[in-house]
């Protein structure tokens, strides 16, 4: 023991770090901040450390070459002892990190921690969110499978919409004219060197400011932040009602960090690694690319925006969102911190959460995408064929054979791009059905050129049978007048 302390002294004579470290960890924090609400920042840092370690381990095997990456991931999954577990830890760690960073941001926003004098801490935090998302996207690219390949295509298509510089931005992003070896290499450099470098730099700044400015005190309704008086009030608070960060508050951080790492490991063991999906061969076009979880909302937005709104939304949206986040501490740098006195802040968080949640939920089953195999894979339910004529059955065949089912469901199976047709005859008369089939419209292609008159007749005869028992099909009243 004495030897150990002498060894410690020997090092400290040379490094002289013990005093500043002790000062940093024992700095007084307001007592009420030793709270379970204040553990998310340290948890995000812990998961980032896990990502660093597992990322380095993956680099022992991973080959950043468009020809080899996919096979090296297969080797990790199947050949190398516990390679699957390290991949799963890294993949789940990524999801946890994005989630915890978002939770941390919401907590900081609702507790008013971005207000004077912590404006710059918040701004660096916004950059930390952006680089975290950058890590998530570039990591998805390194899992070089079909989703990664076509995800890059989507990224390039978005980048190409930048006015004037579009094509140059695309080539800069891809490292050439197509998605290929050069693309993967530069995303590897981004994911492994550039973005982590930025992330570590921003984390250091962020932590330094937390130490220098002190942790945000527990917001009390009615305790107003004023630039002139805040600093002295904060110091008085830490003096009167403060406690050293270590050990008074740190034990909660430690416990939560342990729980989070255990949760990542549990997900990794239970759910396993993410992909890789199919081989990144652009000639295999039987694929349904989907982005990773935290970009699903964007996938939904891109499907649901009207076409004319899309480019402006893609180019202006990010500027407005990021600009708004950066300006926030300057727009409301003083005043109430407590969320109990900030209804607009609470409503904003709820609105954003519900919006993102709804888009993510929609993207999980993608009702806007045709179901490519419904026409040959989903049979017409028998009840729709019961007691039908030969012509109507012929129409049901046309309905399947012409892929109507890819976009229209019957009996809850089939695409949801167009309306379900279980009771279409109640909504449309015979003439309206014929017109809709032949001319399309309302986002439906026109089938006039692809249906013979006989096929159209049969199809419409079948569609006219699609109404609930006891509810008659729609009729054109003018025909009754004419006695037809």
């Amino acid at each position: 023991m004495r030897l150990l302390s002498r060894l410690g002294q020997w090092f400290d004579h040379r490094l002289q770090l013990a005093a500043p470290i002790r000062e940093a960890v024992e700095h007084p924090v307001p007592r009420r901040t030793a709270s379970w609400f204040y553990v998310f920042g340290s948890a995000a840092l812990t998961v980032f450390c896990l990502q660093l370690v597992t990322g380095i381990l993956l680099a022992f095997t991973y080959v950043p070459s468009a020809g080899e990456a996919w096979s090296s991931l297969q080797a990790l999954n199947h050949d190398i002892t516990l390679g699957w577990f390290i991949r799963a830890l890294h993949g789940w760690g990524s999801n946890f990190m994005v989630a915890i960073v978002l939770i941390h941001m919401v907590q900081v926003f609702l507790f008013g921690a971005y207000k004077f004098p912590r404006e710059l801490t918040w701004i660096v935090g916004v950059f930390l969110l952006l680089v975290t998302l950058g890590m998530a996207f570039s990591g998805q690219v390194l899992r070089f499978d079909q989703d990664a390949y076509w995800g890059l295509g989507i990224g390039a298509s978005i980048a190409s919409r930048v006015p004037v510089a579009g094509p140059a931005v695309v080539k800069l992003m891809l490292g050439g004219p197509i998605i290929a070896g050069a693309t993967l290499s530069r995303f590897f450099a981004l994911h492994v060197f550039v973005i982590p470098g930025l992330l570590i730099g921003f984390v250091c700044l962020h932590l330094l400011m937390v130490l220098k400015l002190g942790i945000n005190e527990w917001p009390m309704p009615g305790r107003i932040v004023k630039r002139a008086t805040y600093l002295s009030e904060y110091h008085a608070l830490t003096k009167k009602d403060g406690a050293p960060f270590v050990p008074y508050a740190v034990w909660k951080d430690l416990f939560f960090a342990g729980v989070v790492i255990l949760a990542v490991a549990a997900c990794a063991v239970y759910f396993g690694p993410f992909g890789p999906t199919g081989r990144p061969d652009p000639t295999i076009i039987q694929t349904v690319p989907k982005p990773d979880y935290f970009f699903l909302w964007l996938y939904a937005v891109l499907s649901l925006l009207p076409p004319s709104m899309e480019t402006p939304a893609l180019l202006i949206g990010p500027v407005v969102i990021i600009g708004g986040l950066l300006l926030l501490p300057f727009l409301s740098g003083e005043g109430e911190k407590s969320w109990r006195r900030r209804p607009i802040a609470v409503l904003t968080v709820l609105l954003v959460a519900i919006t993102l949640g709804t888009f993510t939920h929609l993207a999980e089953y993608a009702p806007w995408s045709p179901q490519m195999n419904a026409w040959s894979g989903a049979p017409v339910p028998v009840r729709f064929l019961h007691a039908t004529t030969a012509l109507e059955r012929q129409g049901a065949l046309v309905f399947q054979g012409k892929q109507c089912r890819n976009c229209h469901s019957l009996g809850d199976s089939g695409g949801q791009r167009g309306p379900a047709l279980d009771s279409v005859a109640v909504r449309l008369t015979q003439d309206q059905l014929i017109r809709q089939v032949i001319q399309g419209g309302g986002n439906m292609p026109a089938y006039g050129k692809n249906l013979s008159p006989a096929e159209t007749t049969a199809l419409v005869a079948f569609l006219e049978t699609l109404h609930p028992a006891g509810q008659p099909a729609a009729r054109d009243a003018s025909r009754d007048l004419l006695g037809q």
Partner: protein, 184 residues
């Protein structure tokens, strides 16, 4: 002026000169580094990425039908693997009259699939659909499918390719479908 102040300004001058010198060195190095970083843009400007690539015998493509064809990208790097292979849809309208479409949807680049029964190209991502001549049928795309310029010589069909088509305002292959003509 006391000697002390003279000394200080002399040191100060050397420091400023040192900063200036390093600035020159940095600027001199920035030029090649910048050129290296932007090479994927400038290379395309200087030589162009496009060349004529053969899709093979025209007889592989029956009249009135649309078939998937593949070609190797004209510019290949050793690490490209399968990613340099590219697919395209070849529609033989009649005789030597063709339309060659990129598989990339004009919305966000996902691979469209051809359904001969309904005469439609459908995109699995956001639900874009196109008619057999490549014109927009429905969904989020703002235009028809991208078409490669083609020519037919000695019974072989070749297309001008080499760049992934993207939908931006200055993108290549802006020509709106349908065309039905040989632009070559």
């Amino acid at each position: 002026m006391t000697p002390n102040e003279t000394n200080l300004s002399r040191r100060g001058l050397f420091m400023k000169l040192g900063i200036l010198f390093n600035g020159f060195v940095a600027a001199a190095l920035a030029v090649p580094i910048g050129r290296f970083l932007l090479s994927s843009i400038t290379r395309g400007r200087a030589n162009g990425y496009l060349s004529w690539v053969s899709l093979g015998d025209v007889d592989k493509f029956p009249e009135g039908e649309t078939r998937l064809a593949t070609f190797r990208n004209p510019l290949v790097m050793p690490t490209d693997g399968k990613t340099a292979d590219t697919a395209c849809w070849v529609r033989r309208v009649a005789g030597d009259q063709f339309q060659v479409f990129a598989v990339n949807c004009a919305h966000l680049g996902c691979p469209v699939r051809w359904f001969p029964q309904s005469g439609l190209f459908m995109c699995p991502c956001h639900g874009g659909a196109y008619y057999r001549d490549g014109s927009r049928a429905s969904g989020p795309p703002e235009r028809g499918l991208f078409e490669y310029p083609y020519k037919v010589e000695n019974g072989l069909i070749t297309i001008q390719a080499g760049e992934m088509p993207t939908p931006g305002p200055n993108a290549l292959m802006r020509k709106e479908s349908p065309c039905g003509c040989s632009p070559a």
